[in-house]
């Protein structure tokens, strides 16, 4: 009987686990019953000018679009403006969305094109761009209360940001979409409307360039070369 009890306890645990998973699935199922897909929401926006559906799309996507704009422009304020502009453009161009593609693909494309426009504008007017660079440090959330260890981490973040900003925008975009936003290579090809092979070759070039830019900094340390020149390389190897 005691042997049977041990088995029962194991069985109990298994049953509990299955129960929990089932409960999770049930919740997910129930939630999905009450939520609409992006494409359904967009269809409502297209056909009924449904502002509530539009707000759902804004709420779902604003963080990711904001992150994309920050990573593409390297500037927090510019990214906020681009975020607003992206959703204005989505509403403006709502009739142009075709139901045969994913809403997200279309949205990424609009946001990315706006980022490209902004970057080109900055190249034409570098003075205005310099003024905006004051907001750069805030991209990493640095203030006087930030602990020192965190500051070092933020220095590394700044190195990465600077390295990415040195890449041409078509290389930066594939890296940002894949690494930070988690899009598959195939999805990136759809967003950029280029063959997947081109995405791969752009990515290879992007990674090679990024590695070249970051590599010397691994050897010499961030920012202050004299401070870290004597330290062994392993200290900086990540």
């Amino acid at each position: 009987v005691s042997l049977a009890y041990n088995n029962i306890e194991d069985y109990n645990r298994t049953v509990d686990e299955i129960g929990r998973r089932m409960a999770k699935n049930v919740i997910a199922g129930l939630v999905s019953l009450f939520t609409i897909t992006d494409e359904q929401a967009m269809w409502r926006v297209q056909t009924q000018n449904d502002h509530q559906a539009f707000d759902i799309l804004v709420e779902r996507w604003q963080e990711r679009i904001r992150a994309l704009c920050i990573r593409m422009t390297g500037n927090l304020h510019t990214a906020e403006d681009l975020l607003q502009e992206t959703f204005s453009r989505v509403f403006e161009k709502r009739a142009a969305f075709r139901g045969d593609s994913k809403f997200s693909t279309w949205l990424w494309r609009i946001a990315l094109n706006l980022c490209y426009d902004e970057l080109r504008r900055q190249q034409r007017h570098p003075a205005a761009h310099e003024e905006q660079m004051e907001a750069v440090l805030r991209v990493h959330g640095i203030d006087s209360m930030t602990p020192r260890g965190h500051v070092q981490q933020l220095e590394e973040a700044e190195l990465v940001r600077e390295a990415l900003m040195q890449l041409a925008e078509n290389y930066r975009s594939v890296l940002v979409l894949r690494h930070y936003e988690g899009l598959k290579l195939r999805e990136i090809a759809q967003v950029l409307e280029i063959p997947e092979g081109t995405v791969n070759s752009r990515m290879a070039e992007a990674l090679s360039q990024l590695t070249r830019i970051l590599e010397p900094q691994i050897k010499s340390g961030p920012r202050n070369q004299s401070r870290s020149a004597n330290k062994p390389r392993e200290l900086f190897a990540l």
């Binding site: 049953v15 509990d16 539009f54």
Partner: protein
Amino acid sequence: MKHPKREEWVPFVFGEAEPEQRQQLEEHLKQCAECSAEVSKWQKSLRRMDAWQVPPRQKVRRSGAQPLAWAAAAVLMLGIGLAAGQWSMASTRASMRMEMSRLESQMTELKKQTAVQTRTAPADHAFAETMKELQTTLANMATEREEDRQHLIAMIEELSTKHEEGLVSLRKDLETVASHADDELQAARSRLTELSSVGSTASRLVEGE
């Protein structure tokens, strides 16, 4: 050695290569220090990219009873939002926020409801019931098995007792039969003696005549 093209490493590095291709590239990596070094450099750069995290959107911070003030503001905005009724097309930032907070509270409510529903859902109840029944059945089975054993032992004892009794009675019967046979033997012997004496008397009478 023929090296794979640079772009062939891209799906590999991001974990999107087809199994066959991945296997080939892995094999190549084992043999080729050059490609191995290049790929690990790429991977290192990708790991370093993680250092750049985007800060969340800044919220207005005040001291003291911040959550309370927030809740009061949310309730106020919710009230205004409900009273306002239809949403205006302009989607100004304020109205968007109001709608968002309303949606958030609805979502929270919905989540609560679903959580409650799920907690009392038949699935959990059924599991508990099944477990209880299973345990009861097991206990019953154990008791029944014990009872069966006792029954069996009793039956065996009874049988052996009966067997012994049978043996005893058989012996008694045999002894009775034996004693009866003995008696009959004795009777026959006496009858024979009797007969022989009668016979000898008769022959003496015949000789006397």
